[in-house]
């Protein structure tokens, strides 16, 4: 009975996102039809949340097959891992959709609004297909649709030349990544004879070691491109900031996570780990992405670009956990491998929550002030108290401060590094504990960055008249943000709710893994810490007396102006100075007229961050492809006889091939 009702509910989710809502939106232009479609999208995601919750917290499983209708086997299913990611998608989708109702109403005309909602709905469906697919074909269909639909959402916002160039880079890199993913699926084919996940899993032990390495590396590169690990992150800071804010929230919060899902599916479920260098490769990629991601983020003052770089950083933290888990797996320490995997998966969910909240906050800011440039903001906390407080919760979460959800997963990652010291392998004994220092540095830099973001955007005095006249976001926007903020706090204070089912999830992926002690101990201590901090803070707040307004001390000047405050650029200057070797700033100072440098009429100063390593890495590759394309052009003569010759030669080649195959 329960199985049937879950199947019906899941079918309803697919049907309403994939067919009903888009059809209604495209067919009818009335306001009522749109309201119906939006209700359907939100409602079906709530239903999807319950389906996922039943399969994640309970024991239910689900399988739906559509193979009768499709040329290749197409089936969807929910095991614990899929259920966890479905839960993630639905948890984020509901608040984002609620926020989007007001956001899209304000930003798009009647005509465009219906299309963007249709894309929104289909984009959600494609991501759900990816995480619930149980055949390679279904997975790849979802994977490709996800790329195309998100590109569509970006182009909805406009189609300037620059935007099209960025979308081009996005699509190019995504397809290169998708090619790697397809290849890693097909490498299983000679051994499993089908792309059914169950078949792949069963065939995995007979795959020879060399092919396993190839599959792992292709999956690492393919999913790494989507996840945005450095140096494959090039598209991320270009594509994410230019999408509409709710779409950015879904792309950063959810779409990147499907790559983590794919990587976990391949590395843990299909391959079941491998030699320990697999782990070190992932660990190094995580450390590099984490450090460089946060360093690039600090230098930004465009809020959405800054947040996009923080996605790179957080993917780095997730990969640190995954890499550690693979190292433990290779060293036959299943319980510790489970601990690191739980840390990575929990951070995946946490990042989905706070990053989508941050992007929604950026949307609310741009809605109120028409800019996301930090240098133009300031003083928004007093003007937008609810948005500001939700944004502050997200900032504390992403920094990984106690009482907020980011801390739980970072703490678990720290503890799994520390546990590396009990291994018998000297390399792991040294490398893993030292990673504590790397993660601490990442955390410290993230703290500096978000003090800057929140302090410059929301505190102090407004730096522009738009910021001065900003008003609080509309009800639905506030509602969406409050839901996400509440989720961040809930996980931060009561992590046990998620840690127990996550421990059972890892037991499926890692045979022989028990429940790590750390997952139990953190759930016990966090309420104590919360009680002490909140208790003492409340006591001091209750006992202090009334406060009186008095102007900020102006060093004797009568009137302080907002230009006297620290700006975002000024705030990050010491850190940029210390890490200047990373940025390699390209400075240019022009004084006019040039013959009188001490009496300039105009001075212009420009500082651009050069990305030398990106050029060094990508330029030869791009040059190679372009020259190969030039060579290929010779084939295309325009002469019909030559083309007939090609056809003839192909025919001969195929016939010979068939002759020798027999």
């Amino acid at each position: 009975m329960q199985v049937v009702s879950i199947q019906v509910a899941f079918g309803f989710l697919l049907a309403s996102l994939g067919l009903l809502a888009p059809l209604v939106l495209i067919a009818s232009r009335t306001k009522r039809a749109r309201a119906f479609a939006i209700t359907l999208i939100v409602g079906s995601n709530v239903v999807g949340w319950f389906v996922a919750a039943l399969c994640f917290w309970g024991e239910s499983k689900l399988a739906l097959t559509f193979s009768g209708f499709t040329p290749f086997p197409f089936a969807l299913g929910l095991d614990r891992l899929s259920a966890f990611f479905l839960l993630l998608i639905c948890t984020v989708a509901v608040p984002v959709a609620i926020f989007a109702v007001s956001y899209f109403d304000k930003h798009y005309g009647e005509q465009r609004r219906n299309w963007i909602w249709a894309f929104f709905s289909l984009f959600l469906l494609s991501m759900i297909t990816v995480v619930t697919a149980s055949t390679g074909f279904a997975f790849l269909v979802g994977w490709e649709l996800m790329t195309l639909l998100s590109a569509g959402l970006i182009l909805m916002e406009g189609d300037s030349a620059e935007r099209r160039h960025n979308v081009f880079i996005y699509l190019l890199m995504m397809h290169a990544g998708a090619a790697a993913v397809v290849a890693s699926f097909f490498l299983f084919l000679p051994y499993s004879h089908s792309l059914d996940f169950a078949g792949i899993r069963a065939a995995s032990p007979v795959v020879p070691a060399g092919i396993r390495v190839l599959i792992f590396l292709l999956a690492f590169v393919g999913f790494g491109t989507k996840a945005g690990i450095i140096p494959l992150h090039l598209w991320l800071p270009r594509a994410h900031p230019i999408a509409p804010s709710p779409a950015s929230a879904l792309m950063s919060g959810v779409m990147l996570k499907t790559a983590v899902y794919g990587f976990v599916r391949f590395a843990f479920d299909f391959l079941g780990g491998g030699p320990s260098w697999f782990g070190y490769v992932v660990l190094v990629a995580g450390a590099v992405s984490g450090l460089l991601g946060v360093l690039y983020a600090i230098a930004e003052h465009d809020l959405k670009r800054l947040l996009a770089y923080h996605s790179v950083e957080n993917i780095g933290i997730i990969y640190l956990g995954l890499g550690t888990s693979l190292v433990f797996l290779a060293n036959h320490a299943p319980v510790l491998a489970a601990l690191a995997l739980i840390a990575a998966l929990l951070h995946t969910l946490n990042h989905a929550l706070f990053k989508s909240l941050l992007f929604l906050g950026a949307g609310a800011i741009s809605n109120a002030t028409h800019t996301v440039d930090l240098e133009e903001l300031g003083g928004l906390q007093r003007r937008m108290p609810v948005t500001g407080t939700a944004f502050l919760i997200a900032c504390c979460s992403i920094v990984g401060l106690p009482l907020f959800n980011g801390f739980i997963s970072e703490w678990l990652t720290f503890r799994s590094f520390l546990a590396g010291s009990v291994l018998l392998n000297t390399k792991a004994q040294i490398v893993l504990p030292l990673m504590v220092g790397v993660l601490a540095l990442i955390g410290g830099l993230a703290a500096a960055c978000f003090v800057k973001v929140f302090g410059v955007a929301f505190l102090g005095r407004p730096r522009s008249s738009e910021a001065e006249h900003a008003v609080e976001a509309p009800l639905l926007m506030r509602g969406g943000m409050t839901m996400l903020a509440a989720a961040c706090l809930l996980i931060g204070i009561l992590p046990g709710v998620l840690l127990r089912p996550l421990a059972s999830l890892t037991q499926v992926l890692i045979p022989g893994a028990g429940v790590p002690d750390e997952t139990v101990s953190i759930a016990r201590i966090i309420p104590w810490i919360a009680a002490i901090i909140l208790g003492v803070t409340a006591i001091t707040a209750l006992t202090t007396r009334v406060q009186r307004m008095a102007p900020t001390w102006g060093c004797g000047l009568s009137q302080l102006t907002s230009r006297m405050q620290y700006t975002s650029t000024a705030f990050s200057k010491p850190i940029r100075f210390v890490f200047s070797s990373v940025y390699k700033p390209d400075r240019k100072l022009d004084k006019l007229p040039t013959d009188k440098p001490y009496f300039p009429v105009s001075i212009s100063y420009r500082s651009v961050r050069t990305t030398s390593y990106e050029k060094a890495l990508y330029r030869p590759f791009v040059d190679l492809i372009v020259s190969a394309a030039h060579q290929l052009r010779r084939l295309q003569t325009g002469n019909i006889q030559v083309y007939l010759l090609y056809i003839f030669l192909t025919l001969v080649a195929l016939l010979t091939f068939l002759r020798f195959q027999r």
Binding site: G388, P433, G437, A447, A448, K452, G460, W528, T537, A541
Partner: protein, 313 residues
């Protein structure tokens, strides 16, 4: 009974903190051949500030008003992880050192935000510099503690202290020396002491912590001052309990605890004299030399972690 001792330990750390600051200033005054203020002066100042009016800039939001309270709350919470006379503390056996470090980070995060909320240049300057110092101090802080916890095979502070307590004084390894060096450097940076920051200056070129709290007055300032004193005391007590716990009462008895308390006072006095000496002898580092100082601390702590593999085996 243990709970009573644990609560008493926390009270010693919190209530004795202003005295520690007072004594350090007194010793510094003596080294500089001055009379110096009374060692009870910090108590009088805090009491005076609590009676004064609390001024708030008109542009400030609730973040400005709450920052000192959150700072105080988190500092009190951090105290619950630090043993003084008994190898235990309220939370020291339930949670590990990561909590201690990150609870302190939570308070610092809010104080930096409060500084930016004042809307003056000084607050931003202080917060920006504090961000640099604390960013770079976090890694050596954690790595130094990681080294000790690997040797002790315990991540909770109570377990680490207990392990050291069971060793002989002469069993101290290179790891301990390296970890102590890096943690001592980190404590100087974390508590805003020379050569990283000058707690007595109000000169805009040099101030870090003082720049952040410039806009606070009255009870809010009292909470900030008290919290920084508590932080200094708690970190000194942490150094003592990790690197010189001998003499702590491992069983619960009145005489043992009393003796341990006297020994603790002696040990903390030694550290205070050392701190005063460092502050009197060393000049404040230029802002951009602080990364080098903390870089040395990070390198030393990384060495400590690497050497654990040799010491353990």
């Amino acid at each position: 009974m243990t709970t009573v001792i644990n609560v008493l330990q926390a009270l010693i750390l919190v209530l004795g903190a202003p005295l520690v600051s007072g004594i350090v200033s007194k010793i510094k005054a003596w080294i500089q051949r001055r009379q110096g203020a009374s060692i009870w002066r910090p108590y009088i100042e805090i009491a005076k500030l609590f009676r004064k009016e609390d001024l708030v800039p008109p542009s400030a939001s609730w973040v400005f008003r709450f920052a000192p309270k959150v700072l105080f709350g988190t500092t009190i919470c951090a105290v619950a992880f630090v043993p003084v006379v008994h190898p235990s503390a309220l939370l020291a056996s339930r949670g590990d050192f990561f909590f201690l470090v990150y609870v302190l980070a939570l308070g610092r995060f809010f104080l930096s935000l409060g500084a930016l909320d004042g809307g003056s240049a000084f607050g931003g300057m202080g917060a920006s510099r504090e961000a640099l110092v604390s960013t770079l101090a976090e890694a050596p802080f954690l790595l130094g503690l990681v080294a000790i916890s690997i040797l002790a095979a315990h991540a909770d502070i109570a377990g680490m202290v207990m392990w050291t307590l069971q060793r002989n004084v002469f069993d101290i390894s290179a790891v301990h020396i390296l970890a102590f060096t890096s943690l001592a450097m980190v404590v100087l940076a974390e508590t805003g002491r020379m050569p990283v920051d000058n707690p007595t200056t109000h000169l805009e070129l040099t101030m870090i912590h003082e720049g952040m709290v410039l806009e606070y007055s009255g009870p809010s300032l009292a909470l900030v001052e008290w919290a920084s004193a508590v932080k200094l005391h708690a970190l000194l007590a942490l150094l003592i309990s990790l690197f010189g716990p001998w003499g702590m009462a491992s069983t619960v008895s009145v005489w043992g605890t009393g003796a341990a308390l006297l020994l603790y006072l002696a040990k903390v006095t030694v550290l205070m004299i050392l701190l005063a000496l460092v502050e009197s002898v060393v000049a404040k580092l230029r802002m951009y030399l602080v990364p080098d100082f903390l870089g040395v601390a990070a390198a030393v702590s990384a060495l400590a972690v690497i050497f654990t593999t040799l010491v353990k085996g």
